[in-house]
Symmetry: D2
Subunit: 422 residues, 4 copies
């Protein structure tokens, strides 16, 4: 699931009566390429780091290994805590010291503390998970019977699901990982649920965490942008959610045009839905350059803007002289959208009608979607018509919040849409 | 144009009265990231290396810099010579020594030799290019008036085109590079033509190279697979050539089905054509993992096969219970096609009808398309029905050679199709 | 003081109200080269790691940074604890978790725990240092008034001294570091003493730690081998201690010979003393190759033995036809000594009389000198005459324990000689 | 022989009917560590690069591999040509192109050219070596009967000698390499001599090159500084030459004093001689830090000067209150000498009498000793008394040119002393 994080990668595995842990910066292939080939173990947990918050020492890369009084643990999680500082301060009162600033260090030290106090890993994880406030999909690898313990916060912000094959059980954020690794999807882990896997069997599964944050649920942005379209999250196909949102977007924001184009890759499904609903032909309008290295260094703002021009090029024959409906999944800062609209015009588009398959993103997410500061969010500062004028499209239409929720109606959980409306 | 080569990258630029050259292994961002930011020059030439033939010392990375009696040169080329050994032997008779085995060293030493003898760069390039047999799109950067000299072999195997903007002239293999860098397309360089650029102006343009190899022309595989779909090569849009080939493929190989799926990325356009012609709905059937590092090391054959499973995953909701027309651009060894067909069946496809938008590849290319040995080419050993059985599809249809030529009819040059028929 | 450790290096410095820490594998120049040039601070502490016990993740490299309830600390130490496991177990009882196996993590978590409990850094360091059993010369950098707190164990195993110049105070293991950095030597820190530096002044100095281990003191092996000859440790010049031991060695083990040769570099001073006492001429007998990289990989035992041949070469003209007294500082395994004796014979030495300026090393050191297992110590398994026969020298004489103690008589502390006699 | 060059290292070896070549920047251990362990061959040639003249691409690292009409060659050499430009221009007239600016490329292309013309490697090397003007000790590895051909210029500037053991023949710059690798010294290669080794036997040995440069010979600076003291060059022990020069230095420049100190490492032997001749006691006065990384980056002049302070420290007890004779092998710029004299005074030296075991270096060497520009040579600008005042010593005495030649009287060749007098 490299798409969920490219900053670092790690893996921890039971080896004899201890845990071996490899981790490094970069993609899985860079960080773990050689380590993976040597690793032999029946129980392991891996992680891809989304963002290391400017910290370059690699201390934030997960899994986090800890030894406590009666065993060893390796911990991974996805999501953001909102009470990490309080938890850290509380632990420091007991004389526990910290070496960094990450949520993952707080979580692993909290669990180690309570595993020590409770003399039992499951109880330690339970009491710790109950103390965590915010978003977390958490897996703990323990030397106590070589158990894997998985927990999902009581809102169910981040996905977490279970797969099975003849070799055992797998737990993953997204179902696409189960497909790729040859596991059959079993079910989603429920909000507030904790499960324990031992010897390839689930030996405990219980919803034990109490609900904590009102008006939250499964993160709607996973369906809009973050997850892979071949995944199912909480029973809803990400692919279908995106096609549906394209259809509803077309109903809510119709316009006469000749061609529907989606911006690759994340808006292609919404474009399919828009085309189906509107009956307007779907054609590829942009080619995406697949080779732009993450390591490129751009000293000037001009160069940073040029990266969008390197990233996309118009397919003139599908655009020239035509009225284009350009579908994107979201607008964050608006700068790259503006460049792309301009690119379409330069390629000869007569009109460019921008349609966005998510509502205006007005609020920063506290639960793990990195949309930076509110200042950076164009929709928190401007009206739709102001955004349209700045971006230079002939029209601009967003899907409504209700429309997006309707598109995601099959999701088995309530949805968190706090980035659109509070 | 990173898609034309990922093994190495280099750039040479006029600096004062000499030429500075940077090159290294890897993608442009890795090889030249820091060098590009420091480089200041008005005349330069760059290159992406497609394959370094197992040579790990980097000596094959272009441009090749040489100092000769009256000046300095940096040379880049795309394509394969068929008389490199003869030319090398001839040069060695004059006492010229070689440090490696690449065509590019032969070309640069040949040009340096004749520039010395002729006491003139243009004459040196002319006489050298006339001696080269095979495929070459060649650019020479010279300290003699800081000229760029471009030449294209008399068959026109590899593309080469000219762009212009207010700052000067650009020469590139594909027009997509002109778009991205802000140049307007001017024209293709003709087969056998040599042009000279000085001070941002074309000061010489003449078709001077005599035709040499019968039944050749613009490489048809550029349209099938190699070039980017947003490029125009010899007046034919690559995108259109692919959509056309999909349409003709549908006419030649119709089948009743529910959905058309293209294998991403190179068969997506042919799938559009197939869908349009057949009236069968086009849906994405596979998601491609964008993060597979080139650096992954796969010690066992099993792991190498697993890479295909990591690379693609089916979108079940578009496939389950349906008869699928699966469009691919070509079959080389057949191993990954087989895995993908199996993946579609596992995702619930009732039938999988494989349609290939190029004819069976039976012969190794001598002019620069890397299809390895003939032994590796499944179509050189087996009939279509045998291939179908091995791959496990319910049916298999290739476009005919005439069909593909018809799809490329707007190409202004004769087409080379020697990989299909000799 | 790179000679005290080459495995890793680190530095921590006060920056605003926090501590910045850089560390990495390798020599100071490799690990900190670029970091040092950027660092600006008035209070800092550095460290060279002697051995990382096969741990390749770099977690053992010091300083160790920790944040605790009311501040931040960076801790460095030299020496080995003998109760690290007990202290770790005790801390784990409070719910404190560990990420590695080093003494330095135990020390820093212990200090952080007691600083939290005592709400005061000096009290926290005092109570912690009192709990540490074994050898430690310890420096703690604290954000509490930007203090440096230094402590030396109550035996005084490892050296620790204070320097002063117009810019402030420095604390270092050896006085040679004070010389090099432009500080005047002030005094040694006493066994059991703790000092506090604030704003470039010593604001607290008190012997507070109770004596704990009988028959210990300043490590005699520092004078024999470990320290630099230009240092003074506990008032005794290392250079003089070595010359003295050579003199006493000559008195205790006289032999008729033509030339005295010391094995470079660590036995050169003892050879001077031997020559002076015996009146036998001192000449260089071996040249040492200064360029043997630490990174060389030696797959076979034969290659590992060859390294001694690469490391030394005889100066024939000083040896040929002569009776040689070959002085070394110690014999550990005996393998390289044997090769060197053989090298002297091959260069034409008529006789080789081996003289060792330390007594037979029979016991493993628990306090920080890395002599490996007792099995590896040739003198714990064999008599002097057996060692002589295996090594192939014509005679072999060691200094006596009393002789070595006499050579070090000016040391202001009792001496620890537990590696020779228990 | 890492002491003869630390910039890069390479090795070329016969493998089947071709030559395999490994080379890289850095020390042998860094550049060739892993390659050496895999290499299997009976005939090979290696090289350590002294200076790559600011060229960072590694193209100057030797051996230089070339393929010519009838075979393959790998060439290494030590020394500087004075007609490289003329030879390069001549070769370029034949149409031969160059990729860099090194002497080694000129030599290897010249040899390849003449091997082609003469249809014979020995004749090709002979005619080429006759054309080379300047200093060269040259070894050519050829696929023609897997021969090694060694040649030494007709002045004999750079050393070159032959060793033998039961496995075959070795050729090396210095005899210390023969010792270390287990070869017995056979003889020096004569000025102007070419030898051919085939199947472990010398099959040709002849003085064939005509004398070319007057007043030259074996480089006297090899004895003063460059070579290792355990080597014999042209029958003179480097160790003895240095001790002798110390003795003569004492005779020519006597002074009343208490202690003789040599600056480590290169002046230690001259200090022995000075002490023996004068009867004044020899004691170590300075400790040299062995761990100063070549990779340290020093942005400011002040830091560059500090490096001398990091490199050396005084042994106070040998200096304090004493009149010191400080022996060094040479003064080039004078900056580090000044710092060291000052260090002695700060350590309490009552007087510091500087004695130099080579005459004032007034002229830049054209034959391979890197003394930089004449501007940098303090003795080309100043008198001895001016230098003494700048350096701050109480007196300053150089050995005379005749004195140094007398010290080297046993050398079997005339000596080149052009850096002292022209």
């Amino acid at each position: 699931m490299q798409h969920r994080g490219q900053e670092g990668a790690g893996i921890a595995a039971i080896s004899g009566n201890t845990i071996i842990c490899h981790k490094d910066h970069g993609l899985v292939s860079e960080a773990l390429g050689s380590a993976l080939n040597k690793l032999k173990s029946h129980v392991a947990v891996g992680h891809c780091l989304y963002s290391n918050n400017g910290n370059n020492t690699g201390e934030n890369i997960q899994p986090v290994f800890t030894e406590y009084l009666t065993g060893r643990l390796a911990t991974v999680h996805d999501g953001n805590l909102i009470n990490a500082k309080e938890l850290k301060d509380e632990l420091m009162k007991y004389g526990i010291a910290f070496t960094g600033t990450s949520d993952s260090e707080v979580i692993s030290k909290l669990i180690a503390y309570h595993c020590t106090k409770k003399k039992n890993v499951l109880d330690g994880v339970k009491i710790s998970a109950e103390l965590l406030k915010g978003a977390f999909s958490l897996i703990v690898l323990s030397t106590d019977n070589n158990r894997l313990i998985a927990a999902r916060d009581s809102s169910g912000f981040r996905p977490l699901c279970i797969g099975k094959n003849k070799n055992g059980i797998a737990v993953a954020s997204e179902s696409c990982a189960l497909d790729t690794c040859g596991f059959d999807f079993v079910r989603n882990i429920k909000p507030g649920e904790i499960i324990v896997i031992e010897n390839g069997e689930i030996i405990y599964e219980e919803v034990v965490l109490t609900p904590k944050i009102k008006n939250t649920g499964s993160c709607i942005f996973e369906y809009v942008y973050f997850a892979r379209p071949d995944s199912f999250i909480d029973n809803l196909s990400v692919y279908e959610a995106r096609v549906n949102s394209g259809r509803i977007l077309a109903k809510e924001n119709p316009v006469e045009a000749d061609v529907v184009c989606g911006i690759p890759d994340s808006a292609l499904e919404a474009a399919i839905g828009y085309s189906e609903e509107s009956g307007i032909k779907l054609l590829p309008g942009l080619i995406r350059n697949r080779y732009l290295g993450r390591s490129f260094i751009y000293p000037t703002q001009e160069q940073r803007e040029n990266i969008v021009k390197l990233k996309f090029n118009a397919i003139k024959s599908n655009i020239e002289g035509k009225r284009i409906i350009l579908v994107d999944d979201s607008i964050v800062r608006g700068t790259s959208t503006k460049i792309i609209v301009n690119m379409m015009k330069n390629a000869g588009a007569k009109e460019v009608h921008l349609r966005i398959s998510s509502p205006p993103v007005k609020y920063v997410c506290n639960y793990g979607i990195d949309t930076r500061s509110e200042e950076d969010l164009i929709a928190s500062r401007m009206s739709v018509s102001e955004i349209r004028d700045i971006i230079g499209s002939d029209s601009l239409g967003y899907i409504s919040i209700d429309g997006l929720k309707e598109a995601c109606a099959r999701c088995s959980l309530p949805l968190c849409a706090n980035c659109f409306n509070r």
